[in-house]
């Protein structure tokens, strides 16, 4: 039942059975209604029933979210993501079509500064969606990501990729973290 891996701290994973998770139920119901393609009482009720069954049969640990949504930070996060998705898709496409020798790749270690499953997951998801970087390994205990980076020519490119990953994390923090989390996060960056 445990998804824990050897490099994680034992007992660190929250329990899977913790009562009713309303955000989960609402999310599943919304998906159900979207899939049926119409808002009606019968759809919402049957969606809720299915959502309850799903959460009882496949319980997941609750997502600990202590932050708050910042509209400005969220707009920056989404806007930058769309731009990066476009730019990087063109770059990867160019590399796929390019004649001759393919450039080298790299596997780099990125030590994230936040220590939260949610921000770690979001950063990893966004980094994976943006072309040119792929998460091959995650260390939950130390918030470390290992990225496979496509098309590096020299050390400067490697450092640039590391910097871009940390900037992605910073945008996630600025969009979602609470004031205390953000302050702790920013002060941790001073020593680096």
């Amino acid at each position: 039942m445990s998804t824990d891996t050897s490099n994680d701290l034992p007992g660190d994973v929250p329990s899977r059975r913790t009562g009713v998770q309303w955000p989960m139920l609402i999310g599943l119901t919304v998906v159900w209604v979207l899939l049926w393609g119409g808002l009606s009482v019968a759809n919402v009720v049957s969606g809720l029933v299915v959502a309850v069954i799903v959460t009882l049969v496949f319980p997941l640990p609750p997502i600990v979210f202590g932050g708050r949504l910042r509209v400005r930070g969220l707009a920056v996060l989404i806007g930058r993501f769309v731009v990066e998705l476009m730019v990087a898709s063109v770059q990867v496409a160019g590399q796929a079509l390019r004649l001759g020798r393919q450039p080298l790749n790299a596997v780099i270690e990125v030590d994230l500064r936040s220590h939260s499953d949610l921000y770690l997951t979001l950063t990893a998801e966004l980094l994976s969606l943006v072309p040119g970087s792929l998460v091959v390994e995650v260390r939950r205990s130390t918030s470390t990501l290992f990225l496979h980076v496509l098309g590096v020519r020299n050390e400067a490119d490697v450092e640039e990729a590391r910097r871009r990953a940390l900037l992605q994390e910073e945008r996630v923090m600025r969009a979602l973290a609470s004031d205390e989390e953000l302050a702790a996060y920013l002060s941790e960056g001073v020593g680096r």
Partner: protein, 115 residues
């Protein structure tokens, strides 16, 4: 023929082009991990373009809801699938080291195995 149709056609063509390039990249890239890039990335944007194009053609809320669900699940699952394949490949040694300029994971895994 109105503006919706023109934008929709442009989106559909862009999506098709990106998906074709993803397929070409899948053949041309030298090893598994770089192929994962081609498989997950231009293809993600390509699919989003196609969904936008289809949505502009249909302009019906229940269909747009379905397209939104497709986009959401694609964005949520593609990185997870890519990560699982990449992780398994790396740990099984199915990685071509000669394509890597820097490799910081192999020493980390070796250190972990020693502990």
């Amino acid at each position: 023929m109105n503006w919706f149709d023109i934008v929709s056609a442009a989106c559909l063509l862009a999506g098709c082009a990106l998906s074709l390039i993803a397929a070409i990249g899948l053949i041309r890239f030298p090893d598994l991990l770089s192929r994962m890039h081609a498989g997950t990335k231009p293809q993600v944007l390509g699919l989003l373009f196609i969904l936008v194009g289809v949505g502009l053609r249909l302009r019906d809320w229940s269909d747009v809801g379905m397209l939104l669900a497709v986009a959401m699940f694609q964005l949520m699952t593609a990185p997870v699938a890519a990560h699982m394949v990449g992780r398994a490949a790396y740990r099984r040694g199915a990685v071509r080291r000669d394509t890597l300029l820097v490799d910081e994971l192999t020493p980390a895994l070796e250190a972990e195995n020693r502990d």
